[in-house]
């Protein structure tokens, strides 16, 4: 019980930082005119370290907080939420520990993003976004594509680039954390340089011998 409490306070401290990373990342990308969203690094990090539930919460709250700056973002809460949920599940399944599987994770997360965001852009906003995507959608529609197909196609490239880069950045950040810090998180063990479990195992052995 006590264990859980200590764990929860560091998560409570971490989530605002993750949310801030999301907001500032998104602003940075637009300031530097980089064609990425860069607004889910914090969510994926939260999912990686703390699991699907916290990942989902962080993602959903990202939508809420972004929504305070621009109410349009509120409609995307399911999308931002799913990034965190997926990152948590993938992390638990050890799909984010090494680079090859990390790439696969990035692709999976991107696909989920495309699948969930496109209907929202098409059905709720009639194909309009505040990014250049709206132009691509218009062009595709003029070429004869329907609204939803046009949205799906236009989401593809940006999502893939964005999520793969986000996963990679998260990987580098987690690898930069000390074992001692990682040990405070539920899934931190997966990313430690030295395995904590091994040490505990040795201790048990000693006790038995005595």
């Amino acid at each position: 019980m006590k264990e859980k409490k200590s764990n929860s306070i560091i998560v409570i401290s971490l989530i605002p930082v993750c949310l801030a990373v999301n907001v500032v990342g998104g602003n940075l990308a637009s300031a530097l005119k980089i064609p990425l969203y860069a607004d889910s690094i914090g969510t994926i990090l939260a999912g990686m370290l703390c699991g699907p539930a916290i990942g989902l919460l962080t993602g959903a709250l990202t939508g809420v907080v972004s929504g305070i700056f621009s109410p349009i973002m509120l409609a995307y809460i399911p999308v931002t939420g799913i990034y965190g949920l997926a990152a948590g599940v993938l992390s638990k399944k050890k799909m984010m520990v090494k680079i090859p599987k990390l790439v696969v994770s990035g692709i999976i997360i991107a696909l989920l993003g495309v699948a969930l965001a496109s209907p929202i852009i098409a059905l709720v906003f009639g194909g309009i976004t505040e990014t250049g995507q709206a132009v691509i959608i218009a062009v595709l529609r003029a070429a004869g594509f329907g609204l939803l197909p046009a949205t799906l196609i236009s989401s593809f490239c940006t999502e893939f680039l964005d999520k793969l880069l986000a996963c990679f950045i998260c990987y580098v950040i987690v690898k930069g954390m000390s074992d001692r810090y990682l040990s405070k998180f539920q899934l931190g063990e997966l990313y430690m340089k030295r395995k904590k479990l091994q040490i505990d195992f040795d201790d048990d052995d000693e006790e038995e011998l005595q």
Partner: protein, 293 residues
């Protein structure tokens, strides 16, 4: 009255194999300003964390040996009670805040809100602390706009207002400039005058020499010396092993080595002036090298 007692305590962080503290024992009396001193990496911050209860509950790891606080085993004291009765202030002025308050006044009140103190009493206590620590000039400023020194004073205020019986203060001035350091130590002096038990983790020896009633000097995870400021900081062992000590004390030992037999090794600047002044007078009067007037 004894308020903290550590008995043969050893500790290892959860991800390392080496013991950070080995068989540490000491006793701290109520109302004293006890400094945990030593060079970096010797385990003093760890001791501060253990007394406060962050080890093992927050940082993990296993403790061997015992810790008694307020006469009870530390394990029997709930986390809530530790939070209310043992205050904790640490180095970094920029991470020590609630993160949700927009004025210094509300920031200081945060802890009392969490404890459930009534609104009227909160206002009274916060106003008292602001007056005591001379924070009026910036009491309505946004905490994020403050410099490191001011932030550290607000951090101290936020903890002191909770009226804990023990204050654990971990290197509070290492990130501050000399003026900030002076202001923080003014507050620590004030607490000392109010007879609060203070456990001060500090590696700046000059400050330790000036303020501490009792010093526990650690080296590589074990207690090397334990006694009054004079006993510890003017002890030859520190000089021989080239460990951290006040500059004037080092000077004193070097002076003796060169043949100037001063009567005792000073630990503060004032003390040094008095001792060397005696010797100086002797030279002026054409006396020998023994520094007696």
């Amino acid at each position: 009255m004894e308020v903290i007692r550590m008995n043969n305590l050893s500790y290892r962080y959860p991800t390392t194999e080496e013991y950070c503290l080995k068989n540490v024992s000491f006793s701290i009396q109520e109302g004293e300003l006890c400094a945990i001193a030593g060079s970096n990496g010797c385990g003093k911050t760890t001791i501060g964390n253990i007394i406060r209860g962050l080890i093992p509950s927050f940082h993990g790891g296993e403790i061997e040996g015992t810790l008694e606080i307020f006469g009870k085993s530390s394990k029997e004291i709930s986390a809530d009670e530790k939070a209310k009765r043992i205050g904790f202030v640490f180095q970094n002025p920029f991470t020590q805040n609630s993160g949700i308050k927009e004025t210094v006044f509300e920031e200081i009140a945060f802890g009392l809100e969490n404890i459930g103190v009534g609104r009227e009493e909160i206002i009274t206590r916060v106003m008292d602390i602001i007056e005591m620590l001379k924070i009026e000039s910036f009491m309505y400023k946004h905490p994020l706009e403050l410099s490191g020194g001011y932030r550290q004073r607000v951090a101290l205020a936020s903890i002191i207002v909770q009226n804990p019986e023990i204050m654990v203060i971990d290197e509070p001035t290492s990130q501050l400039d000399p003026k900030g350091t002076e202001e923080v130590f003014e507050i620590i002096k004030l607490l000392n005058r109010q007879k609060k038990t203070i456990v001060l983790v500090e590696h700046k020896m000059e400050l330790v020499a000036e303020y501490a009633d009792h010093i526990i000097y650690l080296n590589e995870g074990t207690v090397l010396l334990d006694g009054t400021a004079e006993d510890v900081l003017a002890n030859e062992i520190l000089y021989k092993k080239n460990l951290e000590m006040p500059q004037v004390a080092r000077l004193g030992f070097q002076a003796r080595e060169k043949g100037l037999m001063i009567e005792k090794v000073p630990i503060t600047m004032d003390g040094a002036v008095k001792i060397f002044a005696k010797y100086g007078k002797c030279v002026k009067d054409g006396g020998g090298s023994h520094g007696e007037s």
